[in-house]
Symmetry: D3
């Protein structure tokens, strides 16, 4: 038995039911899932500004659950606090963007990411560069639907994603589509039916990657980029 | 239940017992493993020449098992026939080099690969460039032990790997060590005990990645790099 | 007349006197400097964890001073909150790492960065990759002196930096040295005397770059990566 | 006098007459050409699968002619068996993709490659990345004519290539066109008449490069990537 | 007080009045500007050929003013003689392309450059690659107006630049526009009014960067790429 | 019959006899060689400054011989005036650095370049980046012998080159050695005897590449980077 902590780094509980149900459907038999929402911070993460306000709470939760579970998944494509959490935790920490892009690398020559608002395209390009895999990404774009409205009209969301995917396949050489928001999980299957390419849904990708790391007993390196922080240096929180 | 086919692309059965036992220890409860050796081809894969002679038989096996299992792992760090098998098969095909490097990307800033003979260093550099992740690799080197002698003296093999790893950590900035041959699986734990960095063992990495792809029902894209081949064009085999 | 806001993103006031005096020495005649310390957060920024806890306060200050000054410099080589501040502010926001590396690009073929603790080397490598200039950086290393001890023994700090610089020049092809912490400003001149290469001190580089952006009336693009945030989405702060 | 071995790595003799005649027209006065077809393997190479089945026979021929000639050209843009042949042979081995791209580097800022089927575009992108020259390639595409039909209607083949070239010049910034299949040699001059850019025909490029290497008495390095194989390790062939 | 030498590397005095007036408007209070035109060489620099004939005179002027000023700006986006001048001079030498691209790096995710004739696009791409920042550039194009005709009809020039900028923003992901010719300075403000992105005017960028380098007393490294030349080796000039 | 023009871009005739004799030994039967020295300019090219003063004369010669020969080789590893000459000439123009690096790409995984003075290392790194093949170069260094002293003591020159090559092979992963000065031609064979890797001599590489381009009737693209210059714009020369 292993336990995966899933942190929702937004204050809205909007996606909670869906997330629990979705992960229930994909967890391995021997996996228990713990699901925690941040209580203060952004309603959704759509800017670096939003992300900044999510970090202290994510890290507080990581610290609380560090010894109580086997791996952590931070459930947002911005991969918020992933680096800091890796410093803090003694267990693997997985972010959906990194996990889904790593998976996409193995599924075709070039992948494209489709996310929410206009700014998500350049942001995801920046992530891909930071992860060192920029030249495997065909493109990254947004469909101009805010995170919290993805669920409002699932058919519309799916339709926009399908149209964007077809355009990226046709004109940018995308061979694999990565959904760029974990809030898109409910429409992943609808999209798959309309596309003849693999579609990577990042919540599932990150969750299964967390399971794998726990299974393989792998932990992040602490000799270089990630260094155990001195929690005593923080005041006012 | 899912079934993973593990193809050993060498004619020696040298590693068969170890491989079966090792994968038995890491397979998920719901996974069945089918293990097949090629009958003609190289005794081990240490050169592009060796690899060339392994390909037809690997592909014959892929073709035979394509509809009988859920994912395929080709058990050699050269990732032999992986591209061709992806064209041929309707199920995911995983290579240990690609899988273990993808996993290493998530464990630290830079990884190094330690493999067998002298030529394996540049070969693995070439793999990393081909996979588009060259700038995440700190270095790749060989320890000058041929594949088929890795088992001869496990303590010596482990000692050489530990020395090489320490050197790569010290002087090349490696934060993660990837073992560059699936024949090194038996010494992985011995190495982990002596190093304070994550050690990725590629047979396990590839096997778990194959399980994950089967779980997520992901298949390779067939609209770009991989195109279903016309088997009728081959004569003489 | 223009006013530059300098935000110290650490709770210790350790460097305040030095910073004010130093910037007084380099500001242009027509520049007024406003200096603000965060009141809650990390004592120093040496990990991603530390950085995370600095962000909300930095952004609160940016929001407060946005309409009262002409440019903002966030005085830490981690460039904390720079992206989020650019989203929020209507004026230029400059980070010392980005500014000093941009300047170093024009001074020689390859630059090296010397910072504080061991983990700062890979961190700065990651910054350089994220800024897209990785192949202009010869190396990045730490001298194993914590930020808050840089001032304890300035001669020792200078000596360590000089030794590190000589090694990077000799063995890594560095032609320009960038100091990787704004707390190193007091020893910059001591180092320059011992080295025959340009030494970029990042506080000065960022401050002058902020002046220049204010002079040229340049602001960050808001049509792509940076998008004006909705402050109303944040709760609990 | 020098002798160049030209290996046709396909079982069809479809192009034999054309190839002999074409090379007769471009060989240097002191060059003798030996032309050999594989007897078992693929009818044409259009997938990695096809390529895999060509390798053993190519290598058998390389082994047979190794001491009887001065350089080897493997006459297919997939550069099949080039790495393995370089391990095996004591003489230079040239592949048309590598040779024509190396030549294209000297003719203009960016080159584009036009090949046969849809999958050839990403495949050639992968080649360019593997050869480390990806950022000099403007694009690579296929014209949807199978290799064995290129000769069926030369005017149609030329027309498709001209249209594709014009599009790549106009919209992708291509300054040089590389034909991506040695079977396109017969239409190279027809294309040149219609385009105002250099057109590199890969059979000629590779053949002349083989002559040059023989003239300069250059051989591949055997201390790194290429290692002399142990032929005794192969069984069943 | 500091003195900046501005070298116009073309024989026409076409832009002299404008340049003096423009720089007068942006110079810092403590800056004196010296303005020198070459007397022999090209009427304008639009090809590598033109540039070649500008170099000896630029270097003669650099040699003459080396000890009489504090920094040098060579006023042409081709950055002609910048490397050679850095070897020769004991003071900073700034080129508009390098300076404006360095500045653009800090203003948004990707920048695009718009210059004069058709060939300027690839030329500027080559500059960006040489400066090691190629992956931050969205595109570079020309508007098909020769340098010496930019002033003929300022409204037309501005209109062409605005159209080109809009296209690059819309279809190439440009977030920042860099004008690719210092002769475009007079229309910079007209363009800014029509675009919602930062517009970097290279003469201003280079001039302010020269001021900054003088202020920071930074000089180019002379231990690597730049080596003090032996003037005695030149004959016939 | 074809005629190759070899331009020596230095005023000393130091290497003339050697060059003629050397090229006589490697020219193809059907090739005639025309050899021209510049009359004004640098005694040798060791800095960007030297190079600048070579350009007008090289271009004058290119213009004079443009219609009288079939290809041009500019005989200096700085590849001086190569871009400008390609704009001017209607025939192929080859530079030794570009030609020898293109050839080295085909001979092994990574090449290293050994040139003359200290600054030649970074300069050649810059060339490799500009040519877009930086990641195929293991290293570039100088042996601290000025160009004009290479001939003084051939044994010493050879010994220094051999030592440098061994070091680069041992510690930098170089598999191919490129000599970084055409003045090293006389010692190429001495070096080859002591090294077990291919040694590319750039004068031979460039000369044979020029022959090949003439044979293949290839010319540089004039639609992008290279544009036919307007000679009338130059005054004072």
């Amino acid at each position: 038995m292993k336990k995966i902590l899933v942190i929702s780094p937004i204050t809205t509980v909007h996606f909670s039911g869906m997330t629990k149900e979705y992960l229930e459907g994909i967890r391995s038999p021997g996996t228990e899932v713990e699901y925690v929402n941040i209580k203060k911070g952004p309603a959704s993460i759509e800017t670096f500004y939003d992300e900044a306000y999510a970090l202290p709470e994510i890290l507080r939760i990581v610290d609380e659950y560090n010894t109580k579970c086997d791996a952590i998944m931070i459930n947002c494509f911005a991969d918020p606090a992933v680096n800091a959490a890796r410093e803090l935790a003694d267990i693997p920490v997985v972010g959906p963007a990194e996990a889904s892009m790593a998976l996409a690398l193995m599924l075709g020559h070039k992948f494209a990411v489709i996310s929410t608002l206009r700014n998500s395209g350049p942001w995801i390009e920046l992530q891909a560069r930071t992860y060192g895999i920029e030249n495997r990404m065909a493109a990254a774009i947004g469909i101009d639907i805010p995170v919290l409205e993805l669920k409002t009209d699932l058919k519309k969301t799916a339709a926009y994603l399908i149209d964007a995917a077809k355009e990226l396949i046709e004109s940018k050489g995308a061979e694999v589509i990565v959904l760029g928001c974990t809030g898109m999980a409910p429409v992943a299957d609808m999209i798959r039916k309309e596309l003849n390419v693999p579609v990577v849904e990042p919540m599932a990708a990150a969750f299964k990657m967390a399971e794998m790391m726990a299974d393989l007993r792998l932990k992040h390196s602490k000799i270089g980029l990630y260094m155990t922080p001195d929690k005593g240096k923080i005041s006012g929180y």
